[in-house]
């Protein structure tokens, strides 16, 4: 598609529950990025993929967060045992060649942990 698609739009989870977010990048874009935007508008990089390979995972809280981009499937970001502080909007972005072209962002998934 010509837009980055993210599902669901909203997700509510009780503390300790699992949350799984999905992202379909723009067709032909080989790079996928996940960012977290918290209430003060700050964006935090989580993880990036080049095709199905992890490119940079330095932003991931590894003990609870995991992500995958498998061929012919939407990319996913999973949070095991959610905490209140995980409440945020999670954005997925894709790009052809990040150093040359812009990143295109999806509409985001708002996760609320209660």
């Amino acid at each position: 598609g010509e837009e980055v698609a993210q599902t669901p739009k909203h997700l509510v989870r009780g503390e300790g529950q699992k949350a799984k977010l999905y992202c379909a990048p723009i067709k032909g874009h080989s790079y996928v990025f996940w960012y977290q935007q918290v209430l003060k508008n700050e964006f935090k990089f989580l993880i990036s993929f080049q095709n199905e390979n992890v490119f940079d995972e330095t932003g991931m809280p590894k003990e609870r967060f995991s992500a995958k981009c498998l061929p012919n499937s939407p990319c996913s970001l999973e949070i095991q045992a959610t905490k209140l502080e995980d409440s945020a909007v999670y954005f997925c972005a894709s790009s052809q060649v990040p150093g040359v072209y812009e990143q295109y962002f999806g509409p985001g998934t708002r996760l609320t942990v209660t």
């Binding site: 790079y31 990025f33 960012y35 003060k40 508008n41 700050e42 964006f43 990089f45 990036s48 490119f55 940079d56 330095t58 932003g59 954005f91 972005a93 790009s95 990040p98 150093g99 072209y101 812009e102 990143q103 295109y104 962002f105 999806g106 509409p107 985001g108």
Partner: protein, 112 residues
Amino acid sequence: SQQGEEDPQALSIQEGENATMNCSYKTSINNLQWYRQNSGRGLVHLILIRSNEREKHSGRLRVTLDTSKKSSSLLITASRAADTASYFCATLVRGGSEKLVFGKGTKLTVNP
């Protein structure tokens, strides 16, 4: 961590006026990008300026980049109420991951 710092944090102007937002960053960059975010929505890409460029235009938008001062500015001319949004600069840091490092944003309000 946040690299870019936008200035001002909030800006309120009248329709028809120009709006200028500034962004400073700390490390060497490959390129700098400006994004707009309407309330509760996703990010819309506005302009990308490469480290070897000094100025770029797109419609009513003008972006400058001064790598010696590690700063950029976004000028919106003849603003409209529809320009009301938050504007973020984001840098692609040279020599490393392809991730974007965002500033904290400028909230622009254009009053009709």
